[in-house]
Structure formats: C-alpha cells, structure tokens
C-alpha cells in the first residue's frame, strides 16, 4: 500500500493552493481531483479578487486564463419593470488590478497545474469514496477498491465534502446554503463593450437585488467575460424545499426584466450550470480539524457573507499547508497538533470573516431574510410613485409615500394571517390617493 505525507482531496482553488504551498515546503503531496481535469466540476459567479493569489504567484497575470479586469461595479435595485443603479468605479482598485472575471473550468485547471509544476502529484479522474480510519484517526483515503495512506488528509472537496462528512466534521444547515443557477451567454465583445460602456479589456459586475428573487434571497448577478455574459440567480435551499421554488423559471424572469433584457438581448446560450454554495461560517472552529485531517475551502465553510469563496478558500488552503508543515516537523498528527490550524488562521482575517458570515446568516435565518429582499422592491416602487407625484406639480398634497412605506414594513413583520388585510390597506391607500390626485389635478387646471 502506498503512503505519502499528505493527500489533498479536491483540486479547486483551496486544494491547489494547499498542494502548491506544501510542494514548495518540500512535503510529499498527492492532489486528487474527481474531474478529468481540475475545474470541470466547478461553477462560480467567478469574480476573482486577486490579493491572495498575488501572494502565491506574484506574476499570475502573465499566464492565468483571465477574462476582463473589473473596475466597474454596480448595485442594481430591481422592481418588476423598474430599477435604480448605484454605479461604482474605484481608481485604486483598477490601479492595483484587484479583480478579474474568469471561468473556473479554465482557471482551476491552470492553478492545479501550478501545484503540479511545484512538485505535487496531481491525479485526475479520481473520486475519493471513503476515508481510511484506524482507531478513530484518519490514516488515508479510499478510491473505490484502492487505498492511499497519508500522515494527513486535507479535505478541500467542496460543499458536499466526502472527507468532512466521513470524518464527522460536517452537519448540514440548509438554511445557510444557496443554490445558484447560471447561464453563460455568447455575445460579441464589441457589443459587450458598447452596452456596458467599457474600455477594451475592462469588465463590469452587476449585483442585482429584489425582483425576481424578492421572496427568496433577493440576489442575482450579471457580469461580463471577454465574449460572453454570466448571469445567475440564487435561492435558499430551505425555501426551495418548503415552497418548491423553481430557479430556472426565476432566471428566465430575470432575463425578461426590461433593463436586463436590454443587456442580454441577441445573446445565445453557451452553457447552463448549477451549483450549491454556503454563506460561510457554517462550522464550529473545532470542526475544521481532527486526528489526521483538516478541512479547507468550501468543505470548511470558508466563504464570506458576500458569498465570495475563492480567495478565502485559497488562504485557508495555505494555512492548512502551514499546519501540515508544523505537524510534519513535530512528527505528530493528532487533533491536538492539528489545532494549530486555528492559530494559523488567527494570523489572517479568516476567523473574523467566518464570524461575520455566521452572524449575517443568523440574522437572515432569524427574520431578515423575509424583510430584506422585500424592502428592496418596496424602495424601488415607492421611489417610482414619489417621483411621479413630484414631477406632476399639480398636486398640492403629495402622495403619502412615507405612510405606505411603513405599512409595507409592517406587512413584512406580521404573521402570515395578518398580511392580507395590510395588503388590502396598502392597495386601498394607493387607489384612494390616485383618485384624489386625479380630482385635485382636474381642479387645479379648471
């Protein structure tokens, strides 16, 4: 039976960052990937924030498969037919080349290759089916009938982590998981530049809130690649379970929204994708390690509250590598030694980030999730009404937008049974005020 110092399961950003760091430290490492090449199982709304990668590979831009440099970002608040946009362009971000769009299938393959070049052994088409255990300690992995022994197993095998589950470290809280459904839409680069007002080589990311996801997460996104657009919607898994939410349908609705439609029209579907993500902080810190095993990347819940997963994943992989090095020097792979992982993580912002993520998801689970996305739609609709009122100039008493807004807030907070009457009040208020408006306008013009 073969034995190595470290087996890293999963050649995504976390696993490859870990294997690359281990190889550089001269630790014998095998990196296992279930796809035919790294990246082909992976999907993300992939806006790569670069500072962590730059630490590992300072000149990555020379060879990494990147799409567009992002220095232009918008928050877009959506009503059913309306929107307002907050557009941001930060010169500092552009100067420091802080973010690129990219494809995971291309990027992960390149990054895993960097780990291989550094000396890690990369094996593809390999699905780890079980952990090898001995007296409650992890001592290797099983790949079908074959066994591979290791001093340490690093689980970097994503949200459905086999390593984490078999080691008893992961229990699922589906309230903090999201399904994302995404499409890649072919569009001519020059059309993209024109529609999004872009200089050559530059790209945008739109984070869209509200319609058509008001009752689920409120979250969707649209961003530019070189010759395609990526568009995705996100839904909480428990909402999907309890209410049978259909994200494919929501994505269609998003594409038919007048503003989004104007951006995607004429494009052709290149690929259709689906993937689950967590919003981070789903683990107790003591669930990140055990005897002979460490978890990093999505397997360890290293995803921030904005659902950015790749840089935290990479950094957690690097810290896992430091921990393995520490254990190798000590010649001990027990949980007590592996606990050093937490000390390494403490030297970064990752623990604070996980804590924030946990608090954000607690807030959403406990009530914010019902009110927050709906608020966005309310704001869009109220602004619409007030604006109309404002520019009509003929009405001495403006529409009581503030009053309606409070009713709408109350509507979101009261139990389900009481919501209906409040809805009726809002509707009545709205009808009454438009009838009064018409009367006042007639009077003013007499």
């Amino acid at each position: 039976m073969d034995k190595v110092q470290c087996v890293v399961v999963g050649a995504g950003p976390a696993g490859s960052a870990c294997a690359l760091s281990l190889a550089r430290k001269g630790i014998e490492t095998v990196l296992l990937e279930r796809g035919a090449h790294a990246g082909e199982k992976n999907v993300a709304s992939f806006v790569l924030f670069t500072p962590v990668l730059r630490q590992l590979i300072p000149d990555f831009e020379a060879e990494a498969p990147l799409e567009r440099l992002v220095d232009d970002q918008s928050f877009i608040y959506m009503g059913e037919k309306d929107f307002f946009q907050i557009r941001m362009r930060f010169q500092n971000h552009a100067d420091k080349k802080m973010a690129y769009t990219a494809y995971r299938s291309k990027f992960d393959a390149w990054f895993a290759e960097k780990a291989r070049e550094a000396g890690a052994e990369l094996l593809t088409n390999v699905l780890v089916t079980d952990l090898l255990m001995e007296d409650g300690r992890v001592v290797g992995v099983k790949v079908g009938e074959e066994e591979l022994l290791a001093d340490v197993v690093v689980g970097a095998d994503g949200i459905h982590t086999v390593v984490g589950r078999q080691a008893g470290l992961v229990s699922d809280d589906i309230r903090t998981y999201l399904l994302g459904v995404k499409e890649i839409l072919d569009l001519d680069p020059e059309v993209i530049d024109e529609r999004f007002q872009l200089e050559k080589g530059k790209g945008v990311v739109y984070e869209t809130f509200g319609y058509p996801m008001d009752d689920v997460t409120g979250a969707s996104t649209l961003y530019t690649n070189k010759d395609s657009l990526s568009i995705a919607v996100f839904g909480w898994i428990d909402a999907i379970k309890e209410r049978g939410i259909d994200l494919h349908d929501r994505l269609q609705q998003l594409k038919e929204h007048p503003f989004i439609h104007s951006l995607v029209t004429g494009s052709k579907l290149r690929e259709y994708q689906a993937h689950i993500i967590s919003n981070g902080g789903r683990m107790d810190l003591s669930d990140l390690y055990s005897d002979g095993v460490l978890l990093c990347g999505e397997a360890g819940g290293f995803n921030d509250y904005l659902y950015i997963g790749v840089p935290p994943g990479m950094l957690s992989g690097m810290m896992a590598a430091n921990t393995v090095e520490y254990a190798v020097k000590k010649g001990d792979y027990s949980a007590e030694t592996m606990e050093e992982y937490i000390s390494f993580l403490e030297k970064t912002s990752l623990l604070r980030l996980l804590d924030n993520s946990r608090r954000a998801s607690d807030y959403l689970v406990k009530g914010g999730r019902r009110t927050l996305p709906a608020h966005i739609r309310n704001v869009v609709e109220i602004i619409d009404k007030s604006m109309e009122d404002e520019v009509t100039y003929l009405n001495p008493e403006p529409y009581p937008a503030g009053l309606e807004f409070y009713f709408r807030i109350i509507e979101n907070w009261v139990p389900g049974l009481l919501r209906k009457p409040i809805k009726v009040v809002i509707k009545a208020l709205s009808l009454l005020s438009s009838a009064l408006n018409r009367r006042k306008i007639r009077k003013a013009l007499q």
């Binding site: 082909e40 199982k41 089916t129 379970k241 259709y272 689906a274």
Partner: protein, 96 residues
C-alpha cells in the same frame, strides 16, 4: 411544467456530460406517492424529476444531472441516496 421541461432539455444540449452506466443517485420511488410537496420536481435545475400521473409514480433520470446536490438536501422523506458519479464521469463544465 411541460414547457419548463422542454426549455431545460434544450439548455442541457449545451452541457457536456460523460454519462456513467452506474446511477450515482438512487431514489426510493416507493416512498414518493406519500410525499405532499414533491419539491424535487420544480427544484431540480436539470428537470430530472417528473411525475407520471397515470401510473402515480416518480420518473427520475440521473443522466442529465448537473451535480448541484439540491435533491440531496430537499427530499422531505430522505428517499434520495446521493453521491458523486465515479471519477471522470458526469458533468464536465467547459465554462463554469
């Protein structure tokens, strides 16, 4: 529902899938008639779950699976045994 299935089937023609002969997801279909919500049917982004009214049973195909794992988490009756396809098989995203 028919329209949804057709739309998604069209979309799946754009996805590269190296189909395994072994099913990586096994559904205990005998439990499904009792299930009230059947959330797997609208939830699966690949429309792999469907209901056959005349025979009163679930139709399930693992072949078009996008490996998101939603069904693993949402089945109210724990009727779904879920694992990844064997190494090298299943979905291969070119533009993930």
């Amino acid at each position: 529902m028919k329209e949804r299935k057709k739309d998604i089937e069209d979309k799946l023609t754009k996805v590269t899938i190296n189909e395994d002969k072994e099913a990586h997801i096994v559904v205990k279909k005998e439990l499904c008639p009792e299930c009230e919500g059947k959330p797997c049917i609208p939830a699966c982004p690949a429309a792999n779950y469907d209901w056959e009214e005349t025979e009163d049973q679930l139709i399930f195909n693992y072949e078009g699976c996008l490996e998101c794992g939603t069904c693993r988490f949402i089945c109210p009756l724990d009727a779904i045994e879920w694992s990844y396809p064997r190494g090298g098989y299943g979905v291969a995203y070119l533009w993930g």
